[in-house]
Amino acid sequence: MIDGSLFDLSASTTKFLILSSLLFVIGVGGVLARRNIIVIFMSIELILNAVNINFIAFTRHWQVLGKINEHTGELFTIFVITVAAAEAAIGLGIVVSLYRNRETVAVDEIDLLKW
């Protein structure tokens, strides 16, 4: 029997999903409620990482069930991290530019999308 907590079925998939759901809800709450765009970014990171946990959790779930070579979720996680990094870079660039023009990073003051 292979020893390790990784394969310990007591740490069941459900728990991981609960964790990721909590993270997701926190992120969504942050996105909806906070004024500061930087904090909104951080909240988006939380959402993304909630997704990542889901990926990992389900990969593990499949491996525990016997599909030793199942790595799709892990692969996607790396993609998500990469894209998130790029997105953060561009997003922060926009924020800097926005601040230079409007002297604010509060989203309730930025309503340019209005008709």
């Binding site: 969504v28 996105v31 909806l32 989203v107 309730d108 930025i110 309503d111 999308l113 209005k114 008709w115």
Partner: protein, 680 residues
């Protein structure tokens, strides 16, 4: 040479084109212009003479048709003649030569060439030198087309063309009002005649279905036209055709009532008067009558009209010529009178005599005009004979050459005019004594006014202002040639009564249709002819001597005549019998008044209609404007308002705040999840 006949008209045309199109652009010198103009006409003359010689040797008197460069000018459809036969209407552009055309072609090219040469000197230094020669060459072309035409349509081209050139050349000094009016007058008067010509031609086609002279002559010769003469009576259709053609001829040849343009045409340069208004164009009418003599022979009543008009014109022209003081006006009325004599000849059926007179008249009248041109030239454009006199000493060559023409026109044996005029008088005598009397009076007057012209110009005491000078050789040599011809040209037609053989009549005989009038002449006794000659000779001498006596020996007689008893006829003659004034009152005044009335009709009636319809359109358009503005536009705007009102509500959703949108997304997500759970 006969094959080159087409070149006779074509060469002057080339000259006209060269001078007319390039003379100004390339600033041709006078020498170049003269060389082109005289060269082409001279070459044309040589070819014409060669062609006539060839023709007389080989083909005469049959009809020669020059097929080189001939083509179908236009090809109309089928036409039904009044007799019911269906004929193809086709016009060929083809030159023909017959004895008549040969005579005319010779006159035109020969006199034309000499006048071209004369003009080189006469027009020297005038503005528009190239223009003058271009027009003159164009005239030669048109006249030769007229003469050599093989059908009425082609002849009409020449007929109109010479009218055009006459217009252009009369108006050569277009900066002078007088010349401009004269050219218009000539053109419009000719148009009236042309109308008659056209009607005649239409009649010919309607009746015979052909316009070709050869075919027409054949129809008449074979008796195919005889039925028309008889079936339609004295004033039948043939008479109307003949009268129509005569009206055309009267317009072109300045007969009553259309003669008024010719004296005014003297506003043109003198060589033009000599060529167009004495020698060639004005004889086109006589040529036309001789060309279609078969039509006139078939219309005896029209012949009477022609004879009467001719005789009256001869008398009227001579009567007006008596008192004119402008040397060219005298010659112009003299031309009218002589043309009247030719028409008288045609009217009595003496077509050969008429053409004979055309032939001799062309030489002596051209000479007289050129002589007067020489006089005018030497006196620095003085045309009033009262300011001449004594020029015999200064212009000997002009004087002696004009002597020949003077004797010729008076009809003194053996000068050219004697033979031709005498033949006309003889034939007139056989036809009617009244006409003969008129012609004799006209001859007397002719001798009188021509002697008056010579006396006032050359023999009377000197009255001029400028020192005259004899003309250069290029001017007096043509004068001399024509002067010699004024003496000898008549010798080709010495009548049998004088022991001659009348070659001229024999040459022209084949073109004439045989009629009773033609044949009975040969039977007339020569004793009558001889006594008639004596009478006309005596009349001419009487006229000459009387005029000499009055104007040289007793000048005061003329003055007293003009002031006393004979004053009324004198003033009548001086004022040209008030014909122009009468025309101003009746045809011209009536036309003007009619046009005035028509103008009122136009201004009130037609314009009223036009303005009314415009007003209606305006009202209609303002109604439709109102409809467009308040109905159509309302519908369109309503749509716009509806959209706008809807958007006011809907756009409040768009806050522009990212978090609102995100909230909506989340709510949607939650709703979706709830739905999934509930649906399970």
């Amino acid at each position: 040479m006969l094959k080159l006949l087409f070149l006779v008209p074509t060469l002057p045309l080339i000259g006209a084109i060269l001078n007319g199109l390039f003379g100004r652009r390339f600033r041709f010198s006078e020498r170049t212009v003269a060389a082109i103009a005289c060269g082409t006409t001279g070459l044309s003359l040589l070819i014409a003479i060669g062609a006539i010689i060839d023709y007389s040797r080989s083909l005469a008197p049959t009809l020669y048709r020059n097929t080189a460069f001939a083509y179908t000018w236009f090809d109309g459809g089928l036409a039904r003649t009044v007799t019911g036969s269906v004929r193809q209407f086709r016009v060929e552009w083809i030159y023909q030569l017959d004895p008549l055309a040969a005579v005319m072609m010779f006159i035109v090219t020969f006199v034309g060439f000499l006048i071209h040469v004369f003009s080189v000197g006469y027009m020297s230094g005038e503005g528009g030198y190239y223009r003058f020669f271009s027009f003159l060459n164009l005239f030669m072309f048109m006249m030769l087309v007229l003469v050599l035409a093989s059908n009425f349509t082609m002849m009409f081209v020449g007929w109109e063309g010479v009218g055009l050139c006459s217009y252009l050349l009369i108006g050569f000094y277009f900066e002078r009002d007088e010349a401009a009016y004269a050219s218009k007058k000539a053109f419009i008067t000719n148009r009236i005649g042309d109308m008659g010509f056209l009607l005649g031609v239409f009649g010919v086609f309607a009746l015979f279905g052909t316009l070709d002279f050869g075919e027409l002559a054949e129809v008449f010769r074979s008796g195919g036209a005889a039925s028309y003469v008889e079936s339609l009576g004295q004033w039948g259709v043939m008479s109307w055709i003949a009268l129509g053609l005569f009206v055309g001829a009267a317009g072109k040849s300045a007969q009553i009532p259309l003669f008024v343009w010719l004296p005014d045409a003297m506003a043109g340069p003198t060589p033009v008067s000599a060529l167009i208004h004495a020698a060639t164009m004005v004889t086109a009418g006589v040529y036309l009558l001789a060309r279609v003599n078969y039509i006139f022979a078939a219309a005896p009543s029209a012949m009477v009209v022609v004879a009467i008009i001719g005789a009256l014109t001869a008398l009227l022209g001579a009567a007006i010529g008596l008192t004119q003081n402008d040397i060219k006006k005298v010659l112009a009325y003299s031309t009218v009178s002589q043309l009247g004599l030719m028409f008288l000849a045609c009217g009595v059926g003496a077509f050969t005599a008429a053409i004979f007179h055309v032939f001799t008249h062309a030489f002596f009248k051209a000479q007289l005009f050129l002589g007067s041109g020489s006089v005018i030239h030497s006196l620095h454009h003085e045309q009033d004979m009262r300011k001449m006199g004594g020029l015999k000493k200064y212009l000997p060559k002009t004087h002696w050459t004009m002597i020949a023409s003077w004797l010729a026109i008076c009809g003194v044996i053996p000068f050219a005019g004697f033979f031709s005029k005498d033949e006309i008088l003889h034939r007139t005598f056989l036809n009617g004594k009244v006409l003969y009397a008129i012609a004799i009076v006209a001859s007397f007057l002719t001798a009188f006014y021509m002697t008056r012209l010579m006396a006032m110009t050359f023999w009377a005491p000197e009255r001029f202002d400028h020192q005259p000078h004899e003309s250069p050789p290029i001017m007096w040599i043509p004068l001399a040639i024509l002067g010699v011809l004024a003496l000898v040209a008549g010798w080709v037609g010495i009548p049998h009564a004088l022991g001659g053989s009348n070659n001229f009549a024999a040459w022209l005989e084949p073109i004439l249709i045989k009629t009773a009038a033609n044949t009975e002449v040969h039977e007339a006794s020569s004793s009558i002819e001889l006594s008639l000659m004596l009478v006309s000779l005596l009349v001419a001498l009487a006229g000459i001597l009387l005029a000499r006596w009055i104007y040289l020996k007793r000048p005061e007689v003329a003055d007293s005549l003009s002031e006393t008893a004979a004053g009324v006829p004198y003033r009548m003659s001086l004022n040209k019998f008030y014909v122009d004034e009468a025309y101003n009152v009746f045809p011209i005044g009536a036309t003007l008044r009619t046009s005035e009335v028509l103008m009122q009709v136009d201004a009130r009636g037609v314009d009223g209609l036009a303005n009314g319809s415009a007003r209606l359109t305006q009202i209609g358009s303002s109604i439709s404007n109102w409809l467009d503005k308040y109905v159509v536009d309302l519908l369109v705007n309503l749509q716009g308002w509806l959209v706008r009102a809807g958007s006011v509500v809907l756009r409040s959703v768009q806050t522009g705040l990212v978090q609102n949108y995100a909230l909506l997304m989340v709510l949607g997500l939650i709703a979706f999840v709830v739905y999934l759970i509930a649906a399970r």
